[in-house]
């Protein structure tokens, strides 16, 4: 049973919620600037910082588990890691991917070395440092959450004040430069904010998986909107949601490290967004494809019936379905859809256009022939190039564009092949 009045659980939910908001918001910028993997390298590079801060605190007689101290240490080494990546790519032939890999693995190795040294040294209360590897939300104390909230608040406030500048920077850094914005300084500021966001999450999610909490909420939010502001808000929401959900599940069961649980929660959100987000969702795109194909087939059926009508000027005559199959494959499903839409009537083994069907068929044939004429007259395409293109465009042109082209061509009566362009439905 989940009891939100349980103080531990409340801390856990609160802490991971705060973290989700910060990581989600900053992650948007990392993802849009294609720096998703920088977050991964930064998180790993923070580990030796945490251990060094702990050592430092022990030696100076401070409370070595003071969150501000540990986060400060993490900030320092994560920063050094970032600068090393920059320096490496600037001064040598090493490319960014390798630079990130080097910083990530070597810093993490150093962190592991320090961690094992601390363990051997038997510092009585070092056990807590393990939580920085895979995250342990249950270990969050009120003072940890307060630190996270203050750091996070500062980050979000900075983000708020520089939002417009960051927006220009992310989408068009050349334009930002032409506006006279201090692009280099803004880049460094933005990267620093991402560093803080990563560091804030270390205790809850762990260095190994923190990258996911930066990238995944942003990638999920991107599917729902094209606007940066909305994306930032959505990503914060997704981050908070998966943070709270993952941490709560982890805190209520034994042997469930928090980091992986949160990461799986946020990955599920990404999957749902990819599949079902309106407009961009993969499922809707598949639906749209099916619907378009169905409409094209239906319109082709109507067009074929119209063409048969042109042969003997009996547009609404009953045609044998077998005849129609000789012209084009009239699929049973397509005929059914056309009948359900009231565009054709099926009588025995025959099929004919209804009144509504005649109107629709005339419109499609008109689209086709006007488009052919347009290609021929305005673009000087050879006659044998016209048909295939018109075959596709007839389904895509909307009535407004068609009307404009029709007017521009002077309301023609025949197409380039000499066939009549239907104007309205024959009596």
């Amino acid at each position: 049973m989940i009891d939100f009045f349980d103080p531990t659980l409340r801390n856990v939910a609160l802490g991971s919620g705060v973290l989700g908001v910060i990581a989600g918001a900053l992650g948007c910028f990392a993802v849009l600037r294609r720096q998703s993997l920088l977050g991964d390298a930064l998180a790993h590079a923070a580990l030796p910082g945490v251990c060094l801060a702990f050592l430092f605190g022990t030696h100076m007689g401070l409370d070595p588990k003071q969150p501000l101290l540990l986060l400060g240490g993490a900030l320092v080494t994560a920063w050094i890691g970032t600068m090393l990546v920059l320096a490496m790519t600037r001064t040598t032939r090493i490319k960014e991917d390798a630079a990130l890999g080097i910083v990530l693995s070597v810093f993490f190795g150093a962190g592991i070395v320090l961690l094992t040294l601390l363990q051997k040294g038997g510092a009585t209360n070092q056990a807590g440092l393990d939580r920085f590897l895979f995250g342990q939300a249950a270990s969050l104390l009120p003072r940890d959450i307060a630190t996270m909230a203050i750091l996070g608040g500062a980050v979000l406030l900075t983000l708020f004040f520089y939002f417009k500048d960051f927006q220009v920077l992310v989408f068009d850094s050349a334009y930002a430069r032409s506006l006279g914005l201090p692009v280099r300084r803004l880049e460094i500021l933005l990267t620093s904010l991402i560093v803080v966001a990563v560091v804030v999450g270390l205790q809850t999610v762990g260095v190994v998986l923190m990258a996911a909490l930066i990238v995944a909420p942003a990638a999920a939010a991107r599917q729902w909107t094209d606007r940066l502001g909305v994306m930032v808000l959505l990503a914060s929401g997704f981050g908070a949601l998966s943070g709270v959900a993952g941490a709560t599940i982890s805190a209520t069961k034994r042997r469930l490290p928090t980091g992986p649980t949160i990461v799986l929660a946020v990955s599920a959100l990404v999957l749902i967004s990819l599949l079902f987000a309106p407009r961009r969702g993969i499922v809707w795109a598949a639906f749209r494809r099916v619907r378009t194909r169905r409409r094209v087939r239906l319109e082709n059926l109507l067009k074929d019936l119209w063409r048969l009508g042109e042969l003997d000027s009996r547009f609404d005559a009953l045609r044998a379905i077998t005849d129609l199959m000789a012209v084009r494959s009239a699929l049973p499903a397509t005929m059914r859809h056309a009948r359900n839409a009231g565009l054709v009537a099926v009588e025995g083994t025959g099929i004919r256009l209804t009144k509504a069907g005649l109107v629709r068929a005339a419109a499609i044939v008109r689209n086709h022939r006007i488009w052919e004429l347009y290609l021929s007259r305005r673009l000087d395409l050879a006659d044998d190039h016209l048909h295939r293109d018109a075959e596709e465009m007839e389904h895509a042109l909307d009535s407004e564009v068609m009307e404009a082209i029709d007017r521009a061509l002077g309301r023609p009566t025949t197409d380039p092949h000499g066939r009549p362009i239907p104007r309205g439905v024959p009596a």
């Binding site: 790993h44 998986l209 992986p260 990819l274």
Partner: protein, 359 residues
């Protein structure tokens, strides 16, 4: 063999096995795919261990290696939806799989010999206890498996050397001669997956990235030639592993962690000392070209108006000491002739100017 020897051998063989495909990862700018694979094989390893009960058996290598290929495939599919960019696709796929693996470890594996520490930094020290009988000999298993994988990688690279080389340096030419980039890509990824899984027990899922990338990147700083780079990467990796063991024994810390740090140290040394790419070399070259430029500038001026050192210092507005140094050099090398009206460039001096200008 002593237990030290077995651990060092294990580390060196792991480094060699990793450095070979790692070189191509670095050259093809796919280091982070290697990172992703090394994390993402974890659920495959755990699943295989749960089924077979053993960590370092051939079914585990192949089964978990297949998960590595699945990761590459997933990343590419996600990117091909055109709804996320490649970097984000990588950063979404591998944490999800790794998280799954960690949860599996936490839930089921306490009874098997695989735990969170092993995932993070392996148990290379364990290699000396884990032996199998080969005929009458008792052989440590980890170095045997890693040696086999290193050999396999070497043969793979020798057999596909031309294909890998062309596909890496000139993808357009590779396509023109009918080489499928997809096949080359997946052969390489298969090798990375297999190697990562084989190294897992010794160095863990994360530090293996250091073995894959750091030696190869360091070697790249020293040379342009592929065979030399491959050999150097193996050498640097081996040295890092051996040095890391020495460090670990000295300070009593995680062996695999120390090996990663040592490789970092070797990389840092290369970054500093490599003749062309290194910081020192760059600095020296900069200094030399500055000096040469200053020399040429002075010779040019003397060509138009012969002068002595004092006049030069005032007209150029340079410190006298600097001018004296340059004039000293020019006189010693007989690049100038001293005439009553001042110094003039000798024919050798004129040639020097032409050389500097044409550089």
């Amino acid at each position: 063999m002593s237990s030290h020897g077995i651990i060092i051998l294990t580390g060196v063989l792991a480094a060699a096995a990793c450095a070979l495909p790692g070189t191509f990862l670095v050259l093809r700018r796919m280091s982070l795919i290697g990172d992703a694979i090394s994390h993402a094989v974890l659920p495959g390893i755990v699943l295989a261990v749960l089924i077979t009960g053993e960590l370092n058996s051939w079914p585990v290598l192949v089964g978990a290696g297949a998960v590595g290929l699945l990761t590459v495939f997933l990343i590419e599919s996600l990117r091909n939806t055109r709804r996320v960019k490649e970097d984000a696709a990588i950063a979404i796929v591998f944490p999800a799989l790794f998280a799954l693996g960690v949860l599996m470890v936490a839930q089921f594996a306490s009874q098997k010999h695989i735990d969170q520490e092993c995932v993070l930094y392996g148990e290379i020290a364990y290699s000396r206890h884990d032996t199998i009988m080969m005929g009458a000999f008792e052989v440590a298993r980890a170095p045997l498996v890693l040696g086999a994988v290193a050999l396999f990688n070497l043969i793979l690279i020798l057999v596909f050397y031309k294909e890998l080389k062309v596909a890496t340096f000139d993808p357009a030419h590779a396509a023109a001669i009918g080489l499928s980039p997809v096949i080359v890509h997946y052969v390489l990824m298969g090798s990375v997956s297999l190697t990562t899984v084989a190294s897992f027990e010794s160095v863990g899922a994360i530090l293996v990235v250091a073995f894959l990338i750091v030696p190869a990147a360091a070697a790249h700083l020293w040379t342009d030639r592929l065979p030399v780079m491959l050999a150097l990467a193996v050498l640097i990796g081996g040295a890092g592993a051996a040095g890391g063991y020495w460090l670990a024994a000295d300070i009593g810390a995680s062996i695999a962690g120390c090996m990663a740090v040592m490789m970092g140290v070797l990389f840092a040394f290369s970054w500093l000392a490599a003749p062309r790419e290194g910081v020192l070399g760059r600095f020296i070259r900069l200094r030399r070209s500055r000096t040469r430029f200053a020399n040429a500038l002075v010779l040019e001026r003397l060509e138009h108006s012969p002068a002595d050192a004092a006049t030069l210092a005032t007209t150029l507005a340079w410190p006298r000491a600097k001018v004296d140094e340059i004039v000293g050099f020019l006189t010693r090398e007989e690049l100038v002739v001293v005439e009553p009206g001042g110094m003039r460039p000798s024919p050798r001096g004129a040639a020097y100017v032409r050389r500097v200008v044409s550089d």
